[in-house]
Subunit: 169 residues, 2 copies
DNA sequence: TGTTGAATATACACAAATGAACTATATACT
DNA sequence: AGTATATAGTTCATTTGTGTATATTCAACA
C-alpha cells in the first residue's frame, strides 16, 4: 500500500510558501496521477506474461467491446485515449502478432477497418481471467456503493474538462 | 467535455461476451485513465509557454513542497511517481535549465541532493498563477464537499494497491 | 464539373519513459 | 576485520509516445 501522507505534507509546505495554491484540487490531481501509475504498472506486470503491454491490451479490449469486433483507427484513438499516430503503431504490432487484421472500407475509402482475428479472441479469452482478478483486487477496498459514488464523482469531474480556455489547439 | 457514454456501451458489449468482467472496477479504471490523460495534456499545454513539461513541473513542485527546497533522487522518484532512471534524466534537464543544482551528500556518500536555485524559485513563482487557475478549472464541476468525498474515496482505493499478489518484483 | 476545405490514416523524425546492467557506498552478520 | 547483501544513483539499449507533414478521399458549393 502506498502512503499518501508525505504528499499532503508537501502540499502544506507549498501552501505555506504560496497560500493561493488550492489544496483540494491539487490533492485530487495528485491522487489521480498516482492511481493511474499504479494501475498502469500493475497491468503491465500482469500482461507481460502474455506478450502484451497495457496500450495493446486497451486496443484489444476496445475492439472486443464493439459488437462485431471491429473499429476504425480514429474511433480507436478516441476510445483508448491514444494519439492517432500511436494507434497506427500499436495496431501494426497487433497485426504482426496476428491478433487483428487491417482491411479497407468500402463506404469511405479513406477509412481502415481493424478486426479481431480468432487468434485475437483466443488471446483475450486467455488473459481475461487474470485481468478480472486484478480489477477486483484494485478496487477491493471500496464497497459497492462506494464504487458507484466514486464513479459518479469522477464522471462529474471529467465533465468539467475541455471547456472554454482549454488547451491550445 | 468528453463523452463517457461510448465507453459504457463498450463495457456492456464486453460483459455480454464475458459476463465475469466486472463493470464497476472497469469503469473506474477507465475513468481514471481518461482523467489522467486530460490532466496531463492540459498541464502540458499550459506549461509549454514556460519551456517545461508536466513531469518537469512535478519535480519542481515536489522540491518546492520540501521545507528547504531539496530532496534526494529516490525520494523524488517516489513522490513524483517516476522511475528512478527517469528522475535522473528529468533532473539533468532541470539542471541544464539552471532551476536546480546537484550536490553530493556528506552523511551518505551514495546520495545526491537536488536543490532549487533562485532561478528555479523564480520560475515557479512565474507559472504558479496559471497553474492555480488550471487546477480550479479542472475541478470546477465539484462542490467543496464533493471534492472532499472524492479525495476520501480515491485514498481508500489507492490504499488497496500493492498488497499480496502485487506486481512481480 | 472544378475547386476548396475538412477528415482519415500513415510516415518519419524526435522526445520521453522503461528495464537491465553497472558503479559506488553503506549495512549486517559471522 | 572480512564477506555478503542491500541501497542510491547513473548509463545505455530499447520501447513507447508525440508533433508535423503528407497522400488520399470525401463533402460542400460556386
Amino acid at each position: 500500500m502506498r502512503d499518501f501522507a508525505p504528499t499532503e505534507a508537501r502540499l502544506d509546505v507549498t501552501r505555506a510558501k504560496y497560500p493561493a495554491f488550492p489544496r483540494e484540487p491539487a490533492v485530487l490531481v495528485r491522487l489521480i496521477k498516482h492511481l493511474f501509475k499504479e494501475i498502469h504498472d500493475e497491468a503491465n506486470g500482469k500482461l507481460r506474461a502474455y506478450g502484451l503491454n497495457h496500450p495493446e491490451y486497451n486496443i484489444l479490449m476496445m475492439l472486443y467491446g464493439s459488437p462485431d469486433n471491429r473499429m476504425h483507427p480514429s474511433e480507436l484513438a478516441d476510445a483508448a485515449g491514444e494519439k492517432s499516430a500511436n494507434v497506427t503503431r500499436l495496431t501494426t504490432q497487433l497485426c504482426e502478432k496476428g491478433y487483428i487484421v487491417r482491411s479497407g472500407s468500402e463506404e469511405d475509402r479513406r477509412k481502415v477497418t481493424l478486426t479481431l482475428t480468432p487468434e485475437g479472441l483466443a488471446a483475450i479469452a486467455d488473459f481475461l481471467p487474470d485481468i478480472v482478478t486484478l480489477l477486483h483486487r484494485q478496487t477491493r477496498n471500496l464497497a459497492k456503493n462506494e464504487q458507484e459514488q466514486l464513479e459518479l464523482l469522477l464522471k462529474k469531474m471529467l465533465a468539467g474538462f475541455g471547456g472554454i480556455g482549454g488547451r491550445a489547439s
